[in-house]
């Protein structure tokens, strides 16, 4: 179906937003290390958040919405990666100059305008992902341009912001977050709303922004360190922000599905108009628990056993519309259900679905009669704890009222298949107000000149440099595109290990290990570098590197050296080797006497079993030959 959409004709517009974590020493507004903890949380605290007025005196709608949900938040505290700033118990420190410089580099790379002064703003976020109730963010560059392959994409905003807390669990009323992640610097690069492009072009744009960001060499790698959001609208539709598109390829699908969703919502709006649906026809939800009192349905029995209520309401003229598919596998009914779920109930049940599954056909007939259901209508029931169920009904009713007029501006979360689910209304600009605890950061001409000197080397130059190291064009390109680019640069800069060997470990061995099911994402840059340092210092052999990396991923809380001792992968000296060989030769004296020189071949396996990965096989052969010779 998506193939048949003419994106030009429907007036598709979209914007791409990339958030990438920066590899700075400290967090953006405190002295904690900018990294994810490998330890268990040391403590937790509980908090509530409230909606507040912005500097223009307006309570942001999105913020108010979250408040109504009245949730509590539990925050996990990590002893090394969380301080009082992270739990909003101490004012933020000044903005990390390293992060500002990195983002400034990117802004200059995109030829953006740099404001004279950077002002940190508070972006109201009361879904709990920031302990303060806002995310700190600042514009570093405006009106930049992303250029690639003769294309120029306008980049209106380049900002630095703090990463939010990572969600651990969500049971509706209480959400648990981890605070190690909170405050790690992010660069945010967003395109404006682009017109006349196909969904697949977004993939290319996101890819090139990603490459550009990586070229600074100052970004973190691994799962979750880069996040893609897209803004989508069509003619007659509205701006919808899709958060957290996991992979590049999914961007295309997410845009296609959203375009399709908005088209179908427009059809529903037109159909409702045709049927004469209007606001006056909406009715308040009614308590219909009594009708279900004798129900034999397991589903209902469970609800009633938990002392819940069931509310019902009639959606006049909505009949059969809840069945309509907005995008593959998602009906309008399912979308309404998500609004109910956001209020803490399990979902909705309605007459546009197959009620036989729930064994409540008979009861629903009575509910329909009670609510005055007519042929063109749809009847909905919601079960849950009294107040919550009522709130859920009202949320669904509000969404249905909006369906008469427009496609709501909202934030949606991307699923793994490219579909999306409702998250919250789209926040307005009134959710931004100044962070008065942090003084403005002056961008001087000197700073700009100084930063220009460090502007990262372009793709071509890097390619030239790598091939000069003897890596070959394909391997060089492969490294540049890979997530291990920083590791590669880091290792060849800080050790004397041959670039070819480093490249083969990072490109081939890591892929092999991943296929074997090794959790390679647990090997951070520091540990990777340390492994090569130990190799250079001859503490481990080349043949042991894979085993060491396996060990490092398995014991992330230990140092590489500790892991090596634990696994017994430490290299041994020739003397130690000789002692081992002497012992083996002694124990196998009969074989040696019988086989003479041939015994070397026979015993090699026994020796290697003990020393594999700890010393070069050639040396083993030499010493073994020598010791065998000695036996008379």
């Amino acid at each position: 179906m998506t193939d048949s959409i003419d994106y030009q004709k429907i007036g598709l517009k979209y914007g791409v937003e990339i958030h990438q974590r920066l590899a700075t020493t400290r967090k953006l507004f405190c002295a904690c290390p900018a990294r994810i903890s490998l330890e268990q949380p040391a403590a937790t605290i509980n908090r509530k958040l409230r909606a507040v007025a912005g500097e223009l005196g307006l309570v942001d709608m999105a913020a108010a919405y979250e408040f109504i949900r009245n949730r509590t938040f539990t925050y996990q505290i990590f002893s090394k990666e969380t301080c009082l700033v992270d739990i909003d118990e101490e004012p933020p420190h000044s903005i990390d100059p390293e992060a500002v410089r990195t983002v400034l580099e990117l802004a200059l790379l995109m030829k953006a305008d740099i404001p004279g002064e950077i002002h940190v703003m508070r972006k109201t976020v009361i879904d709990g992902s920031n302990t303060s109730g806002f995310q700190r963010t600042a514009i570093i560059g405006l009106n930049g341009v992303l250029s690639y392959a003769n294309k120029k994409i306008f980049i209106p905003v380049i900002a630095v912001e703090e990463e939010s807390a990572g969600i651990v669990a969500n049971d509706g009323d209480n959400v648990t977050y981890r605070l190690d992640r909170l405050g790690i610097p992010l660069v945010e690069i967003s395109t404006g709303l682009l017109e006349g492009l196909a969904p697949k072009d977004a993939v290319e744009i996101a890819y090139h922004i990603g490459m550009l960001v990586r070229s600074t060499g100052k970004v973190l790698r691994g799962i979750g360190t880069i996040r893609q959001d897209v803004n989508v609208s069509i003619e007659g539709g509205n701006r919808v922000e899709i958060k957290g598109v996991q992979t590049l390829d999914l961007i295309e699908k997410a845009i296609e599905y959203e375009a399709q969703r908005q088209l179908t919502l427009k059809e529903i709006r037109d159909e409702l108009k045709n049927r004469g649906c209007k606001l006056e026809l909406f009715e308040k939800p009614q308590d219909v628990t009594g009708i279900f009192a004798e129900s034999k349905s397991k589903f209902i029995k469970k609800i009633l056993a938990e002392n819940n209520r069931i509310y019902g309401f009639n959606l006049a003229k909505f009949g059969s519309l809840l069945k309509k598919e907005l995008c593959p596998g998602k009906t309008f009914g399912r979308e309404l259900s998500e609004h109910a779920v956001a209020q803490g109930v399990g979902g909705i049940t309605h007459t546009d679905e197959d009620l036989a599954n729930y064994q409540i056909d008979a009861e629903m007939e009575r509910v329909k009669a009670f609510l005055g259901h007519e042929l063109e209508d749809c009847t909905v029931i919601v079960a849950g704890q009294g107040e919550k169920a009522l709130r859920a009904c009202n949320a669904v009713l509000e969404r249905c009222k909006t369906a008469l007029f427009e496609i709501p501006r909202e934030v949606r979360t991307a699923n793994e298949d490219g579909t999306t689910k409702f998250s919250r209304p789209l926040p307005g600009s009134s959710r931004l107000y100044p962070e008065t605890d942090i003084p403005p950061f002056r961008i001087t001409k000197d700073l700009i000149e100084e930063t220009k000197k460090h502007i990262p080397e372009t793709w071509d130059k890097k390619l030239g440099r790598f091939t000069k190291m003897g890596l070959g064009k394909d391997l060089s390109e492969h490294i540049i595109k890979s997530e291990y680019l920083n590791d590669f640069e880091n290792i060849i800069k800080n050790t004397g290990v041959s670039p070819k060997f480093v490249a083969s470990v990072l490109m081939s061995s890591m892929t092999e290990l991943r296929r074997e099911g090794v959790k390679v994402e647990k090997i951070n840059e520091e540990k990777m570098l340390e492994t090569f340092r130990l190799l250079e210092a001859k503490k481990i052999g080349k043949e042991a590197v894979n085993e060491v990396l396996k060990g490092v991923s398995k014991y992330p809380a230990q140092t590489v050296e500790e892991t090596i001792s634990k696994l017994g992968l430490k290299t041994i000296s020739k003397d130690e080797l000789r002692a081992i060989i002497k012992d083996i030769v002694h124990k196998n004296a009969n074989v040696v006497k019988k086989e003479k020189r041939n015994a070397v071949k026979k015993l090699m396996g026994t020796v290697m079993k003990q020393v594999r990965g700890k010393i070069d096989g050639k040396v083993v052969n030499e010493i073994l030959t020598d010791e065998v010779k000695k036996v008379k």
């Binding site: 605290i45 507040v52 005196g57 509590t72 004279g116 950077i118 806002f134 931004l432």
Partner: protein
């Protein structure tokens, strides 16, 4: 202040904070609302709020063009809440004195400063009105470090006025920095209270989503409506979680942290009550003055401002006292080391504080000893140096905090002239500022 050229241009174009403008710099132009000049900003920077909500500082030079697009008085408008009255509910008055609890972003200083009308304030905490009828009045608007003797008297008189109207309790919104001074002072000024007077502060301003003000206020309202306690108390967070607050004894607490929500701790005492976020109140104190609306409060706002606190440290010179004597000070709190020591130096009498203290006392100055350890009681017997100090005529302040002893001395000197009366009053327990036993759980 803006730089001269920028200021001139702003005046010429009649551009003020709140106006919409277009600023053109070389090839680019920016449209947005002019924000008030922030003091921490460079003089040559024009701060504008872009349409996307971000503020940016634009460098002004001779090539910068500013165009006024429209006048909008969009700044500083906050939702308000009309008062309603339910005769079945208790009525509580919130008296605002300023501080973080009544603060929001201030563009003049770039920091948070006190600025809220009572109606705006109640609109921010509508849940309070579910528990009680909430009235609210701003009686002053200062940062708590600016409290003075007239203001202490003013707060006490305003509270007295509302108590006489038969209200069920008073909440005083107060800055946290000197909240423990005010709490102690008010507990001396407002004795024999028929209802509770609870001081509440906030460590995070009320314009933040994470402000502690809401829970502190709700806990105070629950404490006032659900217990029979009468007298002055303080209500603040128990720990960094929004789970519970503690109601603390007014003359036995101290701000122990610059920024944490649970900065206030009882010193040589236990909390009066714990109030959970659900509204449940657990009374901890056993002996306290019970609510009795028929009782008349004894209000006395006379205080002596000429009282000082002097902290002891290894190199402290006794000549410091001369200044206070010459400047007409009537009382000094000496915050001694350990049990209350001052440098005594038998080898070098010039370094000893004993002679200076002795002559100060002789000249009519009241000298009270407290300890800078914060926790624990002073003692005048354990060491010889303490006995020598005692012999100079000082008053050992038992286990009073420095702040409680200081405010008490202001109060006692404001009402007494004779040394014996002063000594007797300082050593008698007026408002729970002295306790004669200290329990294991009270520290740390």
């Amino acid at each position: 202040m803006y730089s001269k050229p920028l200021d001139k241009m702003m005046k010429k174009k009649k551009v003020e904070a709140g106006d919409d403008v277009r600023v053109t710099k070389e090839k680019n132009s920016y449209t947005g609302t002019v924000m008030p000049k922030s003091e921490s900003s460079d003089a040559n920077i024009l701060l504008i709020k872009l349409e996307n909500g971000y503020n940016i500082g634009l460098d002004y030079n001779s090539k910068t063009r500013i165009e006024k697009l429209g006048t909008k008085s969009r700044l500083e408008k906050f939702p308000t809440h009309a008062f309603s009255f339910d005769p079945k509910k208790p009525t509580i008055m919130i008296l605002h004195t300023g501080g973080t609890i009544a603060s929001r972003v201030d563009y003049k200083t770039g920091g948070v400063s006190p600025a809220f009308t009572p109606e705006e304030f109640i609109a921010m905490f509508p849940e309070l009105t579910k528990i009680a009828n909430i009235k609210s009045r701003m009686i002053m608007n200062i940062a708590s470090e600016d409290m003075d003797q007239t203001r202490y008297g003013h707060v006490a008189r305003e509270a007295e006025r509302d108590i006489k109207l038969g209200l069920d309790g008073i909440i005083i919104g107060h800055g946290t920095d000197t909240l423990h001074y005010s709490a102690a002072m008010l507990s001396y000024m407002l004795q024999n209270l028929p209802v509770p007077v609870v001081l509440v502060g906030a460590q995070r301003s009320s314009d933040r989503g994470s402000s502690d003000a809401a829970l502190n206020l709700a806990a105070a309202v629950n404490f006032i409506t659900k217990t029979d306690y009468a007298g002055v108390a303080v209500c603040m967070h128990e720990n960094p979680s929004d789970d519970s607050c503690l109601v603390l004894p007014a003359a036995k607490l101290r701000k122990m942290h610059t920024s944490r929500r649970d900065a206030f701790r009882a010193v040589n005492a236990s909390a009066i009550a714990r109030v959970e976020s659900s509204g449940k109140v657990e009374m901890i104190a056993e002996n306290y003055l019970k609510k009795d609306k028929k009782r008349n409060a004894a209000v006395n706002v006379n205080i002596e401002p000429k009282v000082a606190i002097v902290k002891m440290y290894p190199l402290a010179e006794p000549a410091i006292l001369d200044f206070y004597l010459k400047s007409g000070y009537r009382g000094i709190i000496i915050e001694g080391t350990g049990f209350g020591h001052v440098p005594t130096s038998p080898e070098d009498p010039k370094k000893s504080w004993l002679p200076a203290i002795k002559s100060a006392v002789k000249a009519g100055m009241t000298v009270v000893i407290t300890s800078q350890t914060v926790h624990g009681a002073t003692n005048k017997h354990v060491y010889r140096n303490l006995r020598l100090l005692e012999a100079t005529g000082v008053i050992f302040g038992e286990d009073m905090t420095t702040e409680a002893a200081y405010t008490k001395l202001c109060f006692v000197l404001g009402n007494n002239k004779e040394p014996e009366k002063i000594r007797e009053a300082m050593l008698s327990n007026i408002a729970g500022e002295i306790s004669n036993r200290r329990e294991l759980r009270q520290f740390p």
